[in-house]
Every structure is written in C-alpha cells, then in structure tokens.
C-alpha cells in the first residue's frame, strides 16, 4: 500500500506539470492585453517598460518556469513566513494579479472562507441527507419512498443549480421574504442574532448545492446497498438470528460505504467547480466568483493560479479516493 501511494504521488507530479502547461499555453493564446486599458497618451517605450514590469517581455517558457517557481517555492515561503514569523522569502517576487496589483494568494486567502463555508457545508449537508435516503431506498426497494427518492434525485441532478437557485430566490426571498437573496460577506458572527442572520443567508445556497450533491450520492448509496443486500454473508447474518436492524446497519452498511466513501472523495473537487455557478447566483464572493471576474478582466495570473488550484484539488482527491478504497477494502490490494 505504501509503495502504491508513493508511486501514485510520484506520478501526480508530471500530471500536474502537464495540466499547468496546458492551462498556461491556453492563456498564452489570449488576445486580451493587460495594457489595453492604459491611456493612449503613454509613449510606446514607456508602455514597453510597463510590459516588462508585468513580466510580459520574456518568451513563454521562461515565464512558465518563473510562474512554477513562484507557485511552488516563493508562495509557500511567504506562507511559512506568515505562520512562524520567519524570513525565508526575503522579498522575492510573488504572483501578482494584473487587476488588483496585489499578490494573487492574498486575494485567494480572502475568498477561501466564504467558499469553504458555503460549499463545504453544502457538501456535508448533502452527504448527511443522501446516506439515510440511500439506505432506506435500498432496504425498501420499489416502495413509495424509493420511487419518490428516485424521482427527487432525478430532478436533483437534472435541474441546473442556477435555475434551482433563482427559483428559491423568487419564492423565499422575493415572495416570502424569509431569506436574503445576496450573501453578505461583511457579516461578523459574534452574537446570537448575527449567527441567525448568517444561518439565514447560508440557507439557500447550501440547500441548492446540497440537493444537487445528495441526488448523486443517494443513488450510489442505494446501488451499493442493493449489491450488498444480495450477498451470502447477509443471509448468514440473518440465519444466525440477528435482527434486521443489526444486519442492515452493521453488516451491510459498513460494506456498502466503501465505494460510497470514494465517490464522496471524488466529488469534492467537482463541488468547487460547480460552486462557480451557485456563487454567481447568490453573489457569494468566493473563489468561483473570483475566477469569473478574473476571466472577464483578462487577469492571466489569477486565472492561471485559480484553475491550477482546482486541478490540484482534482488530482489530490483522485489520489485520496484510490488510497481510501485500498485501505477500507482489504480485498483490494494494488501491489
């Protein structure tokens, strides 16, 4: 297992490098010029100097190497400096956003809490809803509950999140006035009323994403439970005189969770991608909205860094899913 993990980790390096290269070259083709917004009165030689200052003068492979160096060496140094008060970075050049002229990672660090709160919470809620629904659907297969659950999950992943979000806003914020339609990031949670307010503004985005995630996970849970309910060991457990509760919740559930756990791990990066749309609907200023703004503003370093972070998440969670599968299921050994 250890050798497998190490092999996968080593294999992840060229994968990530390749992904970084693809994204970089794609952005390299960008017709947008960060200098396009500058006044025309600036003389050409000054403009050239400004381009140099933005780091646009060199050929692409030099800039690609520089970006990699900044991403993997300089930025972690700054991070460690910030944590422990050391001085590894020593004033080295960081990745600078074209739009705000501030380090990309500072902006990202400001945005991460909102995304993690809304998206992370919705994933947790989604999983917590999906597991019991999947279990009950499988145990009572073809009952009205199962049929209803199938229908709801079909609707859950057919209806796009931007429509569910808009629909919820129309119903709950415009007509009923229960929840605010815009997520207020400046809200400080320090007492009970502000906590209630925070819960209220999180309710709708969390519900939208949770429905979407629960729809998929509950299907997997149901299928996996059904697979296991037909196995011989279930009959043995029943034959030993165990109650149905013990059979289902102890024997079957534990075994059915193995593939579901990997599906849950695989879904995490997709959630971040899907959050782009939900954040846009509810005006949550998280990572997804940052990406959209950066794309519209031709902010190449920001887009590159954000997209690469999404890619890292995908690769890392693929790895976690594969390793978890091997750890949880002793029948699966990769070596």
């Amino acid at each position: 297992m250890l050798t497998y993990t190490i092999r996968r980790l080593i294999l992840a390096v060229p994968t990530l490098l390749f992904i970084a290269l693809v994204i970089f070259l794609l952005l390299e083709l960008a017709p947008g010029d960060p200098m396009a917004e500058m006044p025309l009165t600036i003389p050409p030689e000054v403009k050239e100097k400004m381009r140099e200052a933005l780091g646009l003068g060199q050929p692409w492979y030099v800039r690609f190497y520089l970006w990699l160096y900044q991403f993997f060496v300089v930025e972690p140094q700054y991070w460690i400096d910030g944590l422990f008060g050391t001085n590894f970075a020593d004033g080295a050049q960081r990745i600078i956003s074209f739009q705000s002229r501030s380090p990309v990672f500072n902006t990202i660090a400001e945005r991460i809490p909102q995304t993690l709160w809304v998206v992370g919470m919705s994933y947790v809620v989604g999983v917590l809803i999906a597991l019991p629904i999947g279990i009950i659907s499988a145990v009572r297969q073809y009952s009205w509950f199962d049929n209803f659950g199938t229908f709801v999950s079909m609707v859950g992943f057919s209806v796009p999140t931007f429509f569910t979000g808009v629909l919820l806003i129309v119903i709950f914020s415009v007509n009923l006035g229960w929840f605010p339609s815009i997520y207020d990031t400046t809200l400080k949670v320090d007492d009970w009323p502000s906590f209630v307010k925070q819960l209220k503004q999180m309710a709708m985005p969390v519900f939208v994403l949770a429905l979407y995630n629960a729809a998929q996970i509950s299907r997997f849970m149901r299928a996996s439970m059904l697979d296991n309910l037909g196995q011989d060991y279930v009959r043995t457990a029943r034959a030993k005189g165990m109650t149905e509760k013990v059979v289902v919740l102890k024997h079957v559930l534990r075994n059915s969770l193995i593939p579901v756990v990997t599906v849950i791990a695989l879904g995490v990066p997709q959630v971040f991608g899907g959050a782009i749309i939900t954040e846009q609907v509810f005006k949550v200023n998280g990572l997804g909205q940052l990406l959209i703004i950066a794309i519209h503003g031709n902010d190449v370093p920001m887009v590159l860094t954000l997209t690469f972070i999404f890619a890292v998440l995908i690769v890392v969670f693929n790895l976690i899913a594969d390793i978890l599968y091997g750890v949880l299921d002793p029948r699966i050994r990769y070596d």
Binding site: T15, L29, V155, F157, S158, F163, V166, V174, I276, I292
Partner: protein, 314 residues
C-alpha cells in the same frame, strides 16, 4: 390449413430492436420523457410557423407585459397577442423561447454527437490496437483531471473574438461552444467503449472473423461497433443532457451567445436582474431547460434497462 399450422409452429422473425422497444415501453418515466422530448422538439421546430411573431422585434409600446395567467387574475398590463408577456424591450417571450430552444437544442445535439464521435473513436482505437491503448488512456486520465468548467470558460473568452471574426458572430460562437463542450466531455464514453471493445475482442466470433482475414477497418465497422451500440446510446442521452446544461451554464455566466441571440440559458441570465418584479421571465426558460434535461435523463434510464439483455424479456 397447412399454412396456419406452419405459422403457429414457427416463431415469427423479429428484429431485436422490437424487444428493446417492448422493454422501453414498460418504463413509465422513459415513455413520458420521450413524449416530452418529442413535444419540445416540435415546439421549437414547428413553433415558428404557428407562432409568427418576430422574436427580435422591439415593441416599446408593449414592453413589460405580464403573461395571461397573471393578467386574468390581477390588474396588470397584459394582452392575448403576447400570451407569455414581453421583456423590457417589448420582445415577445414566447417567440424568444421558441428561437432560444432551437439554438439550445441544436447546440445540445451537435455537441453530443461530436463528443460521442470523439469518445467512440478514442475508445475503439484504444481497445482494438494494443499499442495505442496505454498512451490514449493516459491521455484520457489527464483530460479527466483538468478542471473542465474553468477551462471551458477560459476557452470561451479566448477564442470568441477570432472565431467571431472568421465565421460571423452567430456561427462563430456556435462552433466555439459546440467544440468546447465536445472536447471536454468525450472521456466517459471513451472509457466505456474501450472496456466493452476489450471484452468483445476476446469472443469467438471475432476470432472467426479474423481467421477469414477480415482487415481491421472492417472488423471494427462490421463486428465491433454494432456490439457497442447500446452503451454508446446510453451515453448519448447523458451527453445530450449535460451539453444542454453546460451551454445554458455558459450563457448564464455571461460567456455564451451574444445577447441579441437568445438561448434558454441566455434568456434566463438576462432576466435575473429583474426577477423580483417579473419572475415568469426566469421561470419559463428555466422550466424548458430543466424539463428537457429531466426527460432526456429518464429516456437514458429507460434505454439502459431496455438495452440490457439481462433485464430484457423478464
């Protein structure tokens, strides 16, 4: 007399697709989904001939009309000639839904066919030719670990202007969106097709075909492709659903078609700002997208059961 006994004794020859159809009919959701898909396709194809209102015509006098079902019960501005109301420039919403539907469906179908073609091609090549297997599947894994939605957004931004200049505003964006969705969604089809090809390749009839000297090209077209039709058809339905959703998501994020060129996602996006006073402008296009995707997903569900020989005939 002899003739009748003969026909009773022999089972009439039946195409296997009739069995598939019989099984498909038993899936209620799939039949309803199929009926709705036919309805919405007719709506967008025949609709313009029955509802001859120009979707782009500005009619400021009749702007912000409400739909008839609100007008009948409340005191608002409405008219029978604009049953679903008009937008802030007086454009008819019904005509826009029809025109937008044409484009959304066209994008969905074309992108699905493109992604199916790419997926089948790569899957067949990887499954049939051992030398290509490793490299093609590594490539598939790499593409799968790309963050697809951000990359699609970036592609929209980068190639919008060059393609618009080359093919005109509408065709250019159409080509861009279709190829963008196509080349970011072929991977699952490729994996499924490769797996099936690998299994079928070991069967006796393939050995027999090889023994009489069938060249690889005919081997693939005559013997392998017909046998992987069913997974391809199922992933076609999934592909159509996800292509329609992706296109409307792109339009919703403001990176799809230009605004005088409606698609369902675009109409929805344009109406979001004023949805507090005119919720119907958001709900109709949203319902069109959701119901179409839902029906396509149900058809896929039914097809999966119908094409599975283990379930069929039970």
């Amino acid at each position: 007399m002899t003739e009748t006994t003969q026909t009773q004794g022999t089972i009439p020859v039946r195409n296997q697709w009739w069995d598939v159809w019989d099984q498909f009919k038993t899936h209620r959701g799939a039949v309803i989904g199929g009926a709705f898909l036919i309805f919405i396709t007719l709506f967008v194809l025949v609709g313009p001939y029955l509802w001859q209102v120009d979707a782009q015509k500005l009619d400021i006098r009749n702007k912000d009309l409400r739909p008839f079902y609100i007008g009948l019960f409340a005191d608002v501005k409405w008219s029978w000639s604009r049953p679903l109301g008009t937008d802030h420039l007086g454009r008819d919403i019904m005509a826009n839904l029809i025109q937008g539907g044409q484009i959304s469906m066209a994008v969905g179908w074309t992108a699905m066919i493109l992604s199916l073609f790419l997926g089948t091609l790569i899957g067949v090549l990887a499954g049939f030719f051992k030398r290509l297997d490793g490299i093609l599947m590594r490539f598939t894994d790499l593409v799968l670990s790309l963050p697809l939605l951000p990359i699609l957004l970036v592609m929209m931004l980068l190639f919008r202007d060059p393609l618009r200049a080359a093919f005109g505003p509408e065709t250019g964006i159409f080509i861009l969106i279709v190829s963008g969705i196509g080349i970011t969604s072929w991977m699952h089809t490729a994996r499924i097709v490769r797996g099936d090809i690998l299994a079928i390749k070991e069967r006796e009839f393939v050995l027999a075909a090889r023994s009489i000297g069938t060249p690889p090209r005919r081997m693939i077209t005559r013997h392998l492709l017909p046998n992987v039709m069913s997974p391809i058809m199922v992933s076609a339905t999934l592909g159509l659903a996800s292509a329609i959703i992706t296109e409307s998501a792109l339009s919703f994020l403001g990176l799809g078609f230009p605004s005088d060129f409606p698609t369902w996602g675009k109409i929805l996006f344009d109406s979001v700002d004023r949805m507090a006073s005119f919720p119907e402008r958001v709900i109709w296009p949203g319902l069109c997208i959701s119901l179409t995707v839902l029906s396509v997903n149900y058809i896929g569900d039914g097809l999966r059961d119908a094409l599975d020989p283990r379930i069929r005939g039970l």
